[in-house]
């Protein structure tokens, strides 16, 4: 699926003293099978933006297009299982007596047969590395386990686009790595992933392209290297180090990911002839 936002603006509480213009003329495309990172400071409009992608919020002006078709003409229920949104702290919405039942809830709403529902539950729990949690109560899980169970609930709808809003907030580093590996794995199956994160280091690891928001506007969009090297002050640690060295050592290029950066920095040491 190709998902496109054209000149989208959003005003909260219009016509009241509390009016806030959260998005201003945002245009972007989520290409099939890519990981698009959405970055920006607190209150820059990241969450508001992604809630437009499945029309949970409707634009005050502008359009959302799914494969070129105005999303407003599509059935909402259809749109929402094709574009799956995992909220910030999604574990707050877990409700069923077992993890399995919780994950089964959405596919059951799609009117699938019981066999198909079971199969999808098994697959999604396996995808998030939570197969062993199926029979547990969601309330007795740790923060990381709950997070994975909640993501499995959205995956079970087999979305074409998966939107994750701050999926690693509060997760330990090892669990965070596993979740990032899951994102990379999903991309390989052709799903597009939109990753909203304030953690530039993790965006650097998985994003193909990056969209930076500032005050509700797109301040930069492009490949991770293009966006991060234009403003190294708002860049992951890898890019910050490399930018400082590029002036005197241009040969290191524009690495973004950790391993890439490590190779580039090692080549610098290699130049010394050791």
């Amino acid at each position: 699926m190709k998902l496109e936002l054209r000149n989208v603006s959003h005003v909260y509480a219009p016509g009241t003293p509390f009016e806030v213009e959260a998005l201003r003329g945002v245009s972007l495309v989520v290409e099939q099978g890519e990981v698009l990172g959405i970055v920006g400071g607190t209150g820059s409009g990241k969450s508001t933006l992604v809630q437009h992608m499945n029309l949970l919020l409707t634009p005050t002006s502008g359009d959302v297009l799914v494969d070129g078709v105005d999303a407003r003409t599509l059935q909402k229920s259809d749109l929402r299982h094709r574009v799956g949104l995992v909220f910030q702290f999604p574990e707050a919405a877990l409700f069923a007596p077992t993890v399995e039942e919780d994950v089964a809830f959405a596919p059951r709403q799609l009117g699938l047969g019981e066999g198909e529902v079971r199969e999808r539950v098994r697959e999604s729990l396996r995808a998030v590395g939570a197969g062993e949690l199926a029979a547990r109560s969601p309330f007795a899980l740790s923060g990381g386990e709950k997070r994975r169970a909640a993501i499995a609930g959205v995956l079970a709808m087999k979305p074409e686009v998966l939107i994750l809003d701050e999926p690693t907030a509060g997760l330990d580093p090892a669990t965070r790595e596993e979740l990032l590996a899951l994102i990379v794995g999903l991309r390989q199956t052709g799903i597009s992933v939109v990753l909203v994160s304030h953690d530039l280091d993790e965006v650097a690891e998985v994003a193909d392209r990056v969209c930076a928001l500032q005050g509700g506007r797109v301040s930069a969009i492009g490949t991770a290297a293009e966006v991060f090297y234009t403003d190294p002050d708002q860049a992951p640690a890898t890019v910050q180090v490399a930018s400082l060295l590029r002036e005197s050592k241009p040969s290191i290029g524009t690495p973004v990911r950790f391993e890439e950066t490590l190779r580039a920095l090692r080549s610098l040491q290699g130049d010394q002839g050791d």
Binding site: F89, A140, G170
Partner: protein, 286 residues
């Protein structure tokens, strides 16, 4: 009105004491905490790290009396949270992980004032404290915003302001920066550093880099206290880090892989300078 936390600041007193504390959630086969013992002296800044499910949040809930230990004893400034929760909450304030759950009032300033109202602080004093706390977290101008219209990071700062306004002597912070961007995180951490030695702070986090200047770091894994060390010793113990699913942040990890001392290179500038210096001396040596 006297600061409710101040009564505990007499010389070298214990702010927090946990003695052989164990706790299991009902229906769970594995204890969430087993036999955990540690003490915080008044004025100490102590970090808590460890994997998800390690027992960090359970510990926080035992400290303020939301949970009661199955065995062992918790004392907060000499009071038992299991039997005197209201007394304990005058001394100890908690910032919980998910800011969404904590915001209750129609406007930001009311929310920040909520804890003070419960303590019966006079209105004049309350207004001053609320304004000060909102400024301290960098949200001046947000007083009349509705919490629903705030981003996750802004909500987290509102919750922190509410806690700071109460001025408890002991602050327990469960992931206080998990939703903040780099700038917000820096501001909140600076504010926390400014509280050092005035308050006792227990700071739960997944970001080891936030704890490099802590007095000690406790590691909770599988419900057990697996380490109680200074930041330098913990950061340089690769095996201990691995065993407890802890990971070094990007900069020290880069430094380590490049054969440079991770503890001394805390900023991109320092790491870049060290690499350039090494390249220079390498060229000269040739």
């Amino acid at each position: 009105m006297q600061n409710p936390g101040e009564g505990t600041h007499s010389g070298g007193s214990l702010a927090v004491s946990c003695q052989k504390v164990s706790f299991s959630y009902p229906g769970s086969t594995r204890p969430a905490l087993s036999d955990v013992s540690f003490e915080l002296q008044t004025g100490e800044y102590v970090g808590v790290v460890g994997p998800n499910g390690g027992g960090k949040s359970t510990l926080v809930r035992l400290l303020n009396g939301l949970l009661k230990p199955d065995s062992g004893r918790v004392l907060i400034s000499g009071h038992d949270p299991a039997t005197e929760p209201f007394e304990v909450r005058k001394h100890l304030g908690v910032l919980f992980q998910n800011p969404e759950n904590g915001l209750v009032a129609p406007f930001v300033e009311d929310d920040v004032a909520f804890g003070l109202e419960n303590l019966g602080v006079p209105r004049e004093e309350m207004l001053g404290r609320v304004a000060g706390a909102i400024r301290a977290v960098g949200l001046a101008g947000y007083e009349r915003r509705e919490p629903d219209t705030l981003s996750g990071g802004e909500k987290q700062r509102v919750a922190l302001a509410g806690l700071l306004a109460v001025e408890p002597g002991i602050l327990v912070l469960d992931e206080p920066t998990s939703m903040l961007d780099a700038t917000g995180r820096r501001e909140v951490l600076e504010h926390l550093r400014a509280l050092r030695s005035k308050k006792t702070v227990l700071h739960v986090t997944h970001h080891l880099e936030e704890l490099t200047s802590a007095d000690r770091i406790l590691v909770l894994n599988g419900g057990e206290l697996t380490a109680d060390k200074t930041p330098e010793r913990l950061l340089s113990d690769a095996e201990l880090l691995r065993e407890n699913r802890l990971m070094l942040p990007v900069l020290p990890r880069l430094a380590l892989e490049l054969g440079l001392p991770p503890a001394k290179l805390r900023t991109p500038e320092e790491l870049a300078a060290a690499l350039l210096a090494a390249a220079e001396s390498g060229t000269r040596a040739r």
